[in-house]
């Protein structure tokens, strides 16, 4: 059976269920690189450019992990999916970075997805990939329908409070974990890019850490696209990048909600778009009433250091809530 590798980073947290279903319907085995580990990060740091941001290095590590486990690597060039905003330049050049950045890799399936032109739409991309695998249009169409349904279920799970990894486990491994209970006394919003906040290694597992402290967590991925799109426009000029625009809108959404006690923005060291997002959040005073913490992580982030800051932040929020000065 043909094996296709999907690195568990970047779009894994957004589109993995869809692509996995699609490939499996076409009788192709999907191999992932699993959770990020020390080994993966080290490999990535060694191979990727020093000036790149951590997620890129982690992605390199995941790709290296798939080396000689797969026949093809699936790295689509996702340019634009909503006809409005594009993705960060690193996504636009991702297949090329992998192809020329690491020696002796398996061939890369690189398909351009740009919803702004019909010949590059998601639908066309499915067909191109299917054709490369030698399938008939009928088989491909059937697989697309299954894939879309699966993605829809995934989104539904996200909206009901699951985090992407839990949702993926729920769909494919059949782990019926209940959505985290809403009884905790505090509720934090964690905003940022899905490939940072949901990567348990580089985010030092912030979500579970907060849960252990008795805080329920909601992330920008739990908010439906519609709500995000309905956010009043704050900036005169919208951001160019999908994830950044989402983060900004999610922050403004959370800042206006009554049940959120704190907002944590997590970003990676040297992240280009975040240099703007973060200043927008500060200057537009989204969180004038809600405590706001910005955490910057990199490949050297220690668990202890982040924990200390989190604990301090949580203590501060608790004091505030009890009405103490």
């Amino acid at each position: 059976m043909l094996r296709i590798g999907i690195p568990s980073a970047f779009f894994y947290y957004v589109h993995y269920p869809m692509w996995k279903t699609f490939f499996e319907e076409l009788n192709v085995q999907v191999v992932t690189s699993g959770k990020t580990t020390r080994q993966i990060v080290d490999n990535g740091v060694r191979e990727a450019l020093a000036d790149a941001c951590v997620p890129v290095k982690v992605y390199f590590g995941h790709v290296i992990d798939l080396y000689n486990k797969v026949d093809y690597l699936f790295i689509p060039r996702i340019v634009c999916l909503n006809k409005k905003t594009v993705y960060c330049p690193k996504f636009l050049g991702l297949p090329d970075m992998i192809r020329y950045g690491i020696a002796n890799m398996p061939p890369v399936i690189d398909v351009r997805i740009d919803a702004r032109s019909r010949k590059d739409s998601l639908f066309a991309a499915f067909h191109k990939v299917g054709k490369m695998l030698g399938k008939t249009p009928l088989q491909i169409n059937k697989a697309i329908i299954k894939a879309k349904i699966c993605q829809h279920n995934f989104q539904k799970l996200l909206s009901s409070g699951f985090q992407p990894i839990e949702a993926i486990n729920n769909i494919f491994a059949g782990q019926v974990t209940k959505p985290p209970s809403q009884l905790e006394q505090l509720k934090f919003a964690v905003v940022g890019y899905p490939y940072i906040i949901h990567d348990q290694y580089i985010s030092v597992d912030i979500i579970n850490k907060l849960r252990k402290m008795g805080i329920s967590v909601i992330t920008s991925d739990n908010i439906s696209n519609l709500i995000l799109r309905l956010q009043p426009r704050v900036a005169a000029k919208h951001l160019f990048w999908t994830f950044s625009e989402r983060t900004l809108r999610a922050t403004s959404h959370f800042a206006r909600r009554k049940d959120i006690d704190g907002i944590i923005h997590m970003s990676a060291f040297g992240c280009g778009p975040d240099s703007i997002v973060d200043r927008y959040i500060q200057l537009d005073n989204y969180s004038s009433k809600i405590p706001f913490l910005r955490l910057v992580i990199d490949e050297l982030s220690g668990v202890a250091g982040v924990s200390t800051r989190l604990e301090a932040f949580v203590d501060m929020v608790k004091r505030k809530k009890r009405g103490m000065p």
Binding site: A48, L49, D51, A52, C53, V56, R77, V79, V86, Y87, C88, P89, K90, L92, G93, D96, M97, Y100, G101, R112, A235, A236, K237, L239, F240, W241, F269, G270, C271, G272, P273, D274, S275, I276, D278, R279, Y280, L283, D284
Partner: protein, 374 residues
């Protein structure tokens, strides 16, 4: 009265100053970025913002201290974040309590109305449309004159007999071009300037290596940002060809793509088929083109955390291997020191010279045919 300022980018301020003066504005000249400018910028700009944003931040603050109340700059449509810088600068400056107006020129090809509105705002002298077009043409001609003079210094400097003559003469002829205010005067000043530069005594027997410079536009064009790399290289006996000049870039982005623009795209196609914003694709395409023209080496200049250039840098080793051409990359930021950069440049130049002698290709001696520059 409008007190207008704009970003400092190499010598281009001379042309913008003339144009804005002609339209009836008082121009507050942007100061050449210094250490103080950079410190000022770093203080107020976001930490991971790229170097150009920080320098511009400092430049604006210095110009505002000198009395400027209108900032003219360019926008963009992404995916490079430079397109959002005008907006971010405005927010930061307003937050600091400076009541300034920002006039942002978006690409006129996509936003013709924005262009007309902005020109109308700046047209204090109430010139007719015909007169405005004429003034813009004149400004454009001056930009070309400045670019041509600069191009020539890159060729003459490595061959000059007495070190420093070219830089000195260049400063002198810039003033000539600066003083020219009519279309004919500009052409005359340009001719005289090129004549004068050609008069510099040259050493015909010197071994000169040729280096192409690629990278992000601001750090390429602003000597204060790239620590005068072209001058340093010239003094090391390197003929520099820069892949980008303001006139060429502006043409590609305002009216239509030039032939050069298209060839760069084609050259980059096997390595990077996508426009990734900034000048990532241009860096790769130009490297390929320089390699085909048998250059001795490439230097890539990029601001720290510039994602398009990071993508380009990841791919460049493959280009370097395929075409057997050495590539040296500098990521520049406020921490870059000139001495460290010079050491790396000297080593790079030594390697290129040695390779050139070993390959036993006939070293390139003598003057460059003059007709190429007239």
């Amino acid at each position: 009265m409008n007190k207008v300022t704009f970003p400092h980018m190499g010598e281009s301020f001379r042309a913008f100053k003339m144009l804005l003066n002609d339209l009836g504005n008082e121009v507050i000249l942007p100061p050449r970025p210094t250490l103080n400018t950079i410190n000022l910028g770093v203080q107020f700009a976001p930490e991971f913002a790229c170097f150009p944003l920080k320098i511009l931040m400092g430049t604006y603050l210095e110009a505002i201290q000198k009395g400027a109340n209108i900032l003219v700059t360019t926008g963009g449509v992404g995916p490079c974040r430079a397109g959002l810088y005008a907006e971010l600068h405005k927010k930061i400056l307003h937050d600091l309590g400076h009541q300034i107006e920002m006039i942002v020129f978006e690409p006129p090809r996509l936003y013709p109305l924005n262009f007309i509105r902005n020109v109308y705002k700046l047209n204090q002298a109430k010139l007719s449309i015909k007169a405005i077009i004429e003034r813009i043409k004149k400004g454009w001609r001056k930009l070309q004159a400045l670019d041509n003079a600069e191009k020539l210094t890159h060729i003459i400097r490595p061959r000059e007999l007495k070190k420093g003559t070219t830089t000195q003469k260049y400063k002198q002829v810039l003033e000539w071009i600066d003083d020219a205010n009519t279309f004919n005067d500009i052409i005359e000043a340009e001719t005289a300037a090129l004549e004068e530069l050609h008069k510099i005594p040259q050493d015909p027997d010197r071994l000169v290596v040729k280096v192409g410079i690629v990278g992000e536009i601001y750090v390429l064009l602003e000597p204060a940002a790239n620590l005068e790399i072209e001058e340093t290289l010239g003094n090391l006996g390197v003929e520099v060809e820069r892949s980008m000049f303001l006139t060429g870039w502006a043409r590609d982005n305002t009216w239509k793509e030039t032939v050069e623009g298209m060839t760069v795209k084609d050259a980059a196609l096997p390595y990077l088929p996508e426009l990734i914003g900034g000048h990532g694709r241009d860096s790769i395409g130009n490297t390929v083109l320089y390699a085909k023209r048998k250059f001795d080496g490439i230097i890539q200049l990029a601001p720290f955390t510039c994602i398009p250039e990071i993508v380009a840098r990841t791919i460049l080793p493959a280009v370097s291997k395929d075409y057997d051409i050495p590539v040296l990359t500098f990521f520049l930021d406020e921490q870059t020191g000139k001495a460290g950069m010079n050491t790396r440049l000297e080593a790079f130049v030594d390697l290129m010279k040695r390779k050139k002698l070993k390959n036993n290709t006939k070293p390139q001696y003598g003057h460059i045919p003059r007709h190429l520059f007239n």
